[in-house]
Amino acid sequence: MMKTFNAWLKTIIFYEILIGMKATLGHLLRYKPITLQYPHEKRTLPDSYRGMLALLRYDDGTEKCVGCDLCEAACPSRVIKVISAEVPGEPTKRYSKEYYMDMTRCLFCGLCVDACPVDALGMTREYEWAVYDKRQLRLNKQQLLAIGDRSFPVREKRLELQHPNVAFFNVAFRQMPPKEG
């Protein structure tokens, strides 16, 4: 008997709806907006934020990228295209002659950054990349380096004592072993 009455009461006062609206009604009384007024206000980004990709340099201004194509291989959505070649005038040294990223397709998964053996790729905290023309999102090497330059002012130190034959990586030899003979 009581049960039926309660059900009837709940029906006529729209009890479920009131429950559902509880938070709304509560805020209605104590009004304090939680929406960020972007672009006037900006959110604090977490440290591990995965934003725009960038190519990095060493402290002496040389590009880190050795053109190994591994980012291209790692990329799940075929964003990256690397055209590698020999550094002109420095035989057997490899670099990326051209480097393209089609950011319209990027998932910002960061696999390319993980794949890079020389830490030449970085994820910046830039995200304001809305453009009118999609073609502008196909970035070339210069643009990517420029992003890196402005986002990573502190650069990795390029180690000295590199042998011309093995200076593909930023690995220093304390001393060059002399050739025996």
């Binding site: 050795v66 053109g67 190994c68 194509d69 591994l70 291209e72 291989a73 590698s84 070649a85 020999e86 035989p91 057997t92 490899r94 053996p117 020389v118 042998h163 011309p164 034959n165 093995v166 593909f168 990586f169 030899f173 304390r174 001393q175 060059m176 072993p177 050739k179 025996e180 003979g181």
Partner: protein, 889 residues
């Protein structure tokens, strides 16, 4: 019956022939034993210790690559002990390997990478500095990164055992072993690329494609090399329609994965920037770009007009033997039906025809009765007039394998001295070598036959079967005196007798005939004489025996078999064979043109005298091949219509009224027939360049416009038609099935056929002044093929130009001293026809009195040559001249 043994590998029971190595047996049951130094082509070396396996009842681990399987053996390849061993071997190798995989071209297909992923932890216990080899030079073709070397010595062993070049040396010892050439000198070798292919890591890589690719980006197309008659199967690897590299897998094709410099480094010719990309048409004396429609319509219109005015026999057709069988077949069909003339010739005319004629005459076949496998298993090999390692390098490898691995007796007759160098020299392997002048091949062969006759080595069955023939030949050779033969060849009669004895002793004998014979006067006659030799010794007709003329261009054999010659119809059958004509007429639903037809030289003569008005030239360059003294230029200029289908603007194409851009072998589909008669598929690796089209498509389009449509959907349809005409043509299997000599033809040859021309074949001919005695400044200039190029085609391959970019006048150091010339001197070479200036190169392997110049760079050298035409076979001969040499001012 081969003796077999039973063994167990990882629980699989397997029966293998006795002597099989455990690693090979394991592979057969699908168990992969990791290895670096083992390679099926090489003798076991067991230096890398990677293939250790556990064998029951053996106290220690054994190297699977050097342990022969034995009865009841129980092998385990995946136990803890074995894995530990793999781990420590890899740790040892990685102690020095630089791990620069990201910049290494081998990354992604590296054995060390794969095994490291499989067996090792990610960290190393070594903290020591890794070894670094200073680089002494950067090679233009074969780049070495010795820091990456795992010292398996596969490259060194391949260079020695397979190639017989011995240009690589492991210098130093222990970890500091470095693969080098000779001290700090740049690598100077055959550049076969074998070391690049066989290196399990990235220590030796090709510089041509350096850093351009990753293995997983490449698209592969199995096709056939276009540079010589051997017909090697190559895999062209491309990335985004760009040619990246060529390789040949172990066991693939007739070449078994071995290549030469041309095959391995010569692939850039297809994408050369000079490739014709649009049809060109002559307007106001200039060749200007035109559309296909304009060009084809103009050709068709002019051709129809000329045909109406002068008749079909005012037309001539010439095709290069680098075209596919489909192109060749359609070309001759086009000339015979659409134009209606028999004036058809191909570049097989330069020599291949000679060999085919002799084979047809004596044994009724138009191709080899042997295969490459028979060369390998031959007990005696006679090489006449062929520097086989330079002209047909892969056939050369088969000869090397027969001699080095199977102890065959090798006899060589060639204008070549047995000098050791880091380019292999077949004379070094010969048991009996006759170093003769280019005109000494015939006397040397006759010397062998004389020895057969005089030493009573003539086969008894033959003497009973054909006494008349044996009598006639015996009398002919008895008339020749040993003194004359010795004078003409420079070798003693005893050496001929010894050589003949070792040749006749064997059960399997193969004679290889090269360009020195086929491209010389009476090449056909001498090839027939060599068949006589085989008949007399009783080898002829036995399994695995035969005479094998080597083709120079990749489809010389196909050109003849497709009937791209005036004397042959597809098959080949003789052009005046009534039955064949009737069969063909029925298939083509059209009568074949009658009349004898004109050969290449007759067509040029006809053009000069005005009886020939128009020529279709497909992929051939007579103005650039024949010497200026032949008057080809003037003859072609006087034509009313010259249509060229070409890849490049060659000397001939420059004279044309219309040049139609054809595509190269890398862009088309079809088949090539190699020198042993094996038909192999050509598959396109890249898309057509520019507006170029396959030759057959151009011909097909022209035929439509000329009112006699020969329409095909693709190359396969043409091939089907070829097979309907020549039953069983090109069963695309792994190996050819050679024809047997036609007994009826052999018998008729033995009865009467031999007699025609017997007298000429068995005379020594006049002898030029013996070279050694010369006091003047004269030499015999021989324009020859070299290892690094093939015709003029390959001179546009950037890789090959790195090895050889210009011609040099090679002569013996003794001649150099006599003439006062040193290496690198500029010389003026002249005779009554003209002169040229070139650089001297002294080479021990050039016989005294002879000077070699590569035909690939003969623009100037051609001026010194005179053409003589063989009256019987119409083969033009223009490869040698007597010249005077003096130092240039």
């Amino acid at each position: 019956m081969v003796e077999t043994v039973k063994l167990t590998i990882d629980g699989h029971h397997i029966t293998v022939p006795k002597g099989t190595l455990v690693i090979e047996a394991a592979r057969q049951v699908g168990v992969m034993v990791p290895h670096f130094c083992y390679h099926p082509k090489l003798k076991p070396d067991a230096n890398c210790r990677m293939c250790l396996v556990e064998i029951e009842k053996m106290p220690k681990l054994q190297t699977a690559c050097s342990t022969p399987a034995a009865e009841g053996m129980v092998v385990r390849t995946a136990t803890t002990v074995v894995n530990e061993a793999h781990k420590s071997v890899l740790e040892f190798i990685l102690a020095n390997h630089p791990l620069d995989c990201p910049v290494c071209d081998q990354g992604g297909r590296c054995d060390l990478q794969d095994f490291s992923h499989e067996y090792t932890p990610t960290t190393s216990r070594f903290i020591e500095v890794k070894r670094v080899f200073p680089k002494e030079y950067f090679s233009p073709l074969i780049e070495t990164q010795m820091n990456r070397c795992v010292q398996c010595l596969r490259c060194v062993r391949y260079c020695d055992e397979v190639m017989d070049v011995k240009a690589l040396a492991p210098s130093g010892r222990g970890t500091m072993t470095e693969i080098k050439h000779f001290t700090h000198h740049e690598l100077d070798c055959e550049f076969c690329g074998g070391c690049v292919q066989i290196c399990p890591v990235g220590a030796i890589t090709s510089r041509l494609s350096m850093y351009e690719f990753r293995p997983w980006m490449l698209k592969r197309a199995d096709t056939v090399c276009t540079y010589c008659g051997d017909g090697c199967q190559i895999t062209i690897q491309t990335k985004e329609n760009q040619l990246i590299e060529v390789m040949s897998a172990q066991g693939a094709g007739r070449n078994n994965g071995d290549l030469c410099a041309r095959g391995f480094f010569g692939y850039h010719v297809s994408t050369h920037p000079d490739r014709l990309q649009h049809p060109l048409i002559r307007r106001n004396g200039e060749l200007v770009q035109a559309t296909w429609e304009d060009a084809l319509e103009w050709v068709a219109e002019t051709a129809i007009r000329l045909k109406l005015a002068h008749g079909p026999n005012a037309f001539g057709g010439l095709i290069g033997a680098r075209c596919t069988n489909e192109d060749l077949y359609l070309f001759q069909k086009f000339m015979r039906l659409v134009v209606g003339t028999n004036n058809i010739d191909s570049s097989a005319r330069y020599g291949q025809i000679n060999g085919v004629r002799a084979l047809r005459r004596v044994q009724g076949t138009s191709r080899w009765t042997v295969t490459f496998d028979d060369i390998v298993s031959a007990e005696a090999l006679l090489l006449v007039g062929t520097n086989v390692t330079e002209t047909n390098p892969i056939t050369g490898l088969k000869v090397k394998e027969a001699v080095k691995k199977r102890q065959a007796t090798l006899l060589t007759i060639e204008a070549l001295e047995p000098a050791v160098g880091t380019i292999s020299n077949i004379a070094n392997l010969a048991a009996h070598h006759f170093s003769v002048q280019p005109d000494g091949f015939k006397p040397a062969v006759l010397g062998l036959i004389k020895a057969v006759v005089e030493e009573n080595l003539v086969s008894q069955p033959l003497a009973q079967k054909a006494p008349g023939y044996v009598q006639a030949v015996s009398e002919a050779v008895r008339r020749l005196s040993w003194q004359a033969i010795e004078r003409a060849t420079g070798s003693s009669s005893q050496s001929f007798i010894d050589a003949t004895r070792s040749f006749t002793r064997t059960a399997r004998a193969v004679i290889l005939v090269g360009q020195g014979v086929l491209r010389a006067p009476d090449g056909s006659g001498l090839t027939a004489t060599l068949l006589d030799l085989l008949l007399l010794t009783g080898h002829h007709g036995l399994p695995g025996c035969g005479v094998a003329p080597l083709a120079e261009e990749n489809n010389d054999q196909g050109a003849v078999e497709m009937g791209a010659a005036l004397e042959y119809l597809p098959g080949p059958s003789d052009a005046n064979d009534q039955a064949a004509r009737a069969r063909l007429a029925q298939a083509w639903k059209e009568e074949l043109p009658k009349g004898p037809g004109k050969s290449l030289m007759e067509m040029i003569e006809g053009a000069r005298t005005g009886s020939l008005k128009a020529m279709f030239i497909v992929g051939e360059n007579p103005a650039g091949s024949l010497p200026p003294s032949a008057g080809t230029m003037e003859a072609l200029q006087s034509l009313d219509l010259l249509v060229c289908q070409e890849l490049f603007l060659t000397e001939t194409a420059r004279l044309a009224h219309v040049v139609l851009p054809a595509c190269s072998y890398a862009e088309k589909d079809g088949t090539f027939t190699n020198t042993e008669g094996h038909v192999q598929s050509v598959r396109h690796a890249i898309e057509l360049i520019g507006e170029s089209r396959p030759d057959w498509e151009i011909l097909s389009a022209l035929s439509v416009l000329m009112g006699y449509p020969l329409e095909y959907g693709d190359a396969k349809e043409i091939f089907k038609e070829i097979r309907s005409l020549i039953p069983g043509y090109g069963l695309l299997g792994p190996a050819p099935t050679p024809p047997r000599p036609d007994q009826a033809v052999v018998e008729s040859y033995l009865k009467t056929g031999y007699s025609s021309g017997l007298a000429e074949r068995y005379t020594l001919g006049e002898r030029r002044a013996a070279s050694g005695e010369r006091k003047d400044f004269s030499l015999t200039l021989l324009v020859t093929q070299t290892l690094f190029h093939s015709g003029k085609f390959s001179t546009r391959a950037k890789g090959l130009l790195q090895v050889q970019a210009e011609g040099a006048f090679s002569l013996n150091p003794a001649d150099g001293t006599r003439l006062g010339l040193a290496e690198g001197d500029r010389v003026r070479v002249s005779n009554d026809l003209g002169e040229m200036t070139t650089t001297v190169k002294l080479q021990d392997r050039v016989p005294v009195g002879l000077a070699l110049f590569p035909e690939h760079f003969d623009q100037e050298a051609r001026r010194l040559l005179r053409v003589s035409t063989d009256p019987a076979t119409q083969v033009p001969y223009y490869k040698s001249a007597s010249v005077k040499v003096e130092k240039a001012k």
